[in-house]
């Protein structure tokens, strides 16, 4: 059981990192990203291919994946926002995400298509004994999650963080105050992209096998669920959001052991209903999410 909890906690960590990326782009910066699934796939595939075909080690492959997704996100934001408005940007992300997924599915020479990539190397995989590896991977994921939160908190409290919130609330006001709206948005989206690349790399390390079916649009739904449940803009809250989504998804499997009258196929249907009800209840009783966005407060006595 402990092993299973450790493995699920690892999944929570990289789901949380992915949700943090969305929280950064959408929660703080106001840029909707419906292409998460495709960009996540880009990160995972880049990391895996840099190792399998490029011969890079896991560290440089992860950095490479972060750079590739960041560059892709930067280009998407630059090309789109130069000529259109935010509403169209959401549509473009959706299209690009789908495009990336189709490339992964169809370019056999590169991604092995529907068959997927097997035998993805893991960080220090040949140094650490397999029976202890899961502890190491959890430790690594927790450290990276903590690092990501720290980094995002620093940005959120910096002048750039204030520009982000200003853009989210009203970009015309920000422009009037002399802020370069396009350049700021490109940076927001690219930084979020780098974090998506990090989450994608961890996904590959964890599963060691990737195929295009793992990057269906449900990935976007889970990320949005985590952000909304956690509280838009609140980084620590989003971690709780990701954990709750995961506990609902995986924990509900154990209901069968608690309630023996439930049949496996009934449970399969009931699980999805329970997850839905859980989220509805959450939004009814806590519409602003678990935590609130950071606000600078000064006490005058």
């Amino acid at each position: 059981m402990i092993s299973f909890l450790i493995l699920i906690s690892t999944v929570v960590c990289f789901s949380a990192i992915l949700a943090l990326a969305l929280n950064f782009q959408w929660g703080l910066g106001g840029m909707v990203n419906f292409g998460m699934a495709g960009l996540y796939a880009l990160g995972t595939y880049s990391c895996a291919l840099l190792m399998l075909k490029g011969g890079a080690n896991t560290f440089f492959a992860t950095l490479g994946a972060m750079a590739i997704v960041a560059a892709a996100c930067g280009v998407i934001a630059l090309v789109t926002l130069r000529v259109t408005e935010e509403d169209y940007f959401a549509i473009v992300t959706l299209g690009v995400g789908e495009m990336l997924r189709l490339v992964a599915l169809n370019e056999d020479w590169l991604t092995k298509g529907a068959l997927g990539l097997t035998g993805i190397p893991r960080p220090l995989g040949d140094v650490i004994a397999p029976e202890y590896y899961q502890y190491f991977l959890l430790g690594l994921s927790v450290a990276l999650l903590a690092g990501t939160v720290w980094f995002l908190n620093v940005i959120a409290r910096s002048p750039f963080g204030r520009i982000m919130r200003a853009l989210r609330e009203d970009d015309v006001v920000a422009a009037t105050l002399g802020k370069h709206v396009l350049w700021a948005r490109v940076r927001i989206f690219a930084i979020g992209g780098a974090i998506i690349g990090l989450a994608g790399s961890l996904h590959g390390f964890y599963y060691q096998y990737i195929d295009p079916t793992q990057f269906s649009n449900i990935v976007i739904a889970y990320a949005f669920m985590a952000v909304i449940a956690g509280g838009r803009g609140a980084h620590q809250g989003v971690i709780w959001g990701a954990a709750v989504v995961m506990v609902l998804l995986e924990g509900s499997r154990f209901m069968k052991d608690l309630i023996p009258v439930l049949d496996s196929d009934q449970l399969a249907a009931i699980r999805i209903i329970i997850i839905g009800i859980g989220l509805i209840l959450l939004l009814v009783f806590r519409p602003q999410g678990f935590m609130r966005e950071y606000r600078l407060q000064v006490n005058f006595k």
């Binding site: 059981m1 402990i2 092993s3 299973f4 909890l5 493995l7 699920i8 999944v11 189709l102 599915l105 169809n106 298509g113 529907a114 068959l115 997927g116 097997t118 035998g119 397999p130 599963y207 060691q208 096998y209 195929d211 079916t213 793992q214 269906s216 709780w240 954990a243 709750v244 506990v247 995986e250 924990g251 509900s252 499997r253 154990f254 209901m255 052991d257 608690l258 496996s264 196929d265 449970l267 399969a268 249907a269 699980r271 999805i272 806590r286 678990f290 935590m291």
Partner: protein, 409 residues
């Protein structure tokens, strides 16, 4: 309304999270008893959701049959943990981890579909646990599986051999081929295409299409537009439904050859498109030899009528039976030991036998057996590919599936 502080929220969250996490502990005494846990991952939801319930029923009835005859290894009972794989690779991988780490299973069975099998394969090999899949893609058993991965299904290239031969016998001079971008479809397409070319027939066109498109008009135009005598289409139910609607709308009259998971899918295809569109479609699928005594016994076990054709549940039955027999023969519940006994009990040499309870008796008496199951004769190559399973061939006439023949590769 009471004020919600962060601490209160955290407390409540903690309590909510503790319930599902504590659940398995409450059940621990149960799992650690004398029973032998077996993990069963089946699709109850997702694109293969139609097949899970019957496979689960087969697994339960087979385990109950073995248990009521005294279990294995001196009276230990089989205990099944049946879970929904959601027809998804990542869910199947998480389930395999749950089976191995929470329930301490040494046998993972079920695993309908290639992505499910592929994602669980490294986990099974790393943990030295046997994985028995119902997936067709060649890659499942390729490379070094260390004797832990066993396919209870025909290999995809063998599907192609049977279908290609039937297409030639039906006398089609030229055909078009279209297939879903999917790991089990591509080897079938390639085999059919190669066979047609070696036989001197023409392939007018061949294309691979993507899943989940709202329309397949362009693809249909490209393949059917060349007016081949027949079109072989390989994929899954949802894409085939849209393809056949386009074909009907476009008024194309090429004969259509498909798989039963597309053109039958437990009756769902005809329900979706109506008998007019479905008329004349021929479909193929690996199936049990319905005349085999092992299959007839399986029908009795399921309480089904004599003419019922089950495609996948007999394999689930065989998986559970083989696990039980191999454990009994190895006198050990550990996969490192009993995985080596799978070939001896399935391939023989020994007394031919098709009933798992009788086979267990013989094994206990120290006699060699050669087991034939409900889904096939249960013979394997050393790398885990199943031999001796054949394919059924049906044609849809007047909204009904009419059985044509049964053929082996």
């Amino acid at each position: 309304m009471k004020k919600l502080t962060r601490r209160k929220v955290l407390k409540r969250l903690g309590a909510a999270a503790a319930l599902p996490i504590a659940a398995p502990f409450l059940n621990l005494a149960h799992a650690q008893g004398a029973s032998i846990p077996i993990g069963v991952a089946l699709p109850f939801t997702g694109n293969a959701g139609a097949y899970g319930p019957d496979m689960a029923e087969a697994a339960k009835r087979t385990a109950a049959k073995i248990n009521s005859a005294g279990g294995i290894l001196g009276g230990r009972k089989l205990e099944l943990f049946i879970e929904d794989s959601e027809s998804s690779a990542s869910v199947a991988a998480n389930l395999s981890q749950k089976f191995i780490n929470v329930h301490k299973c040494q046998a993972l069975v079920g695993y309908w579909g290639t992505p499910e099998g592929m994602s669980s394969r490294p986990i099974a090999v790393q943990n030295k646990v046997v994985l028995m899949v119902s997936s067709a893609a060649n890659a499942i058993t390729e490379g070094d599986t260390q004797g832990y991965v066993w396919r209870f299904q025909m290999k995809a290239t063998d599907w192609g051999i049977v279908i290609g031969r039937a297409v030639q016998r039906l006398g089609f001079k030229n055909i078009g081929i279209m297939g879903l971008q999917n790991a089990f479809v591509l080897p079938i397409m390639k085999t059919v295409e190669d066979q047609m070319k070696t036989a001197g027939r023409t392939v007018t066109g061949s294309l691979i299409y993507n899943p989940e498109q709202p329309s397949y008009r362009a693809e249909v135009e490209r393949i059917f537009g060349k007016k081949p005598e027949a079109v072989c289409c390989f994929g899954l139910l949802p894409d085939f439904v849209s393809i056949m609607k386009e074909v009907y709308r476009g008024g194309f009259d090429s004969k259509v050859i498909a798989l039963s998971i597309m053109a039958d899918a437990e009756g769902k295809f005809i329900e979706a498109v109506g008998p007019q569109v479905a008329e004349g479609i021929r479909h193929f699928q690996p199936m049990p030899d319905t005349s085999a005594p092992g299959y007839k016994k399986f029908l009795k076990l399921m309480g089904a009528p004599d003419d019922r054709v089950y495609l996948f549940p007999p394999n689930t039955h065989d998986q559970i039976a083989v696990v039980a027999m191999a454990m009994e023969k190895a006198k050990s519940p550990m996969a490192v030991d009993w995985s080596k006994q799978i070939i001896p009990v399935c391939n023989g040499p020994g007394q031919n036998i098709d009933d798992v309870v009788d086979a267990l008796k013989l094994i206990r008496a120290g006699k060699p057996v050669n087991f034939s199951g409900a889904g096939s004769t249960c013979d394997f190559t050393p790398n885990g590919d199943q031999l001796g399973r054949g394919m059924g061939h049906w044609i849809i006439q007047g909204g009904k599936n009419v059985f044509v023949e049964y053929a082996k590769p």
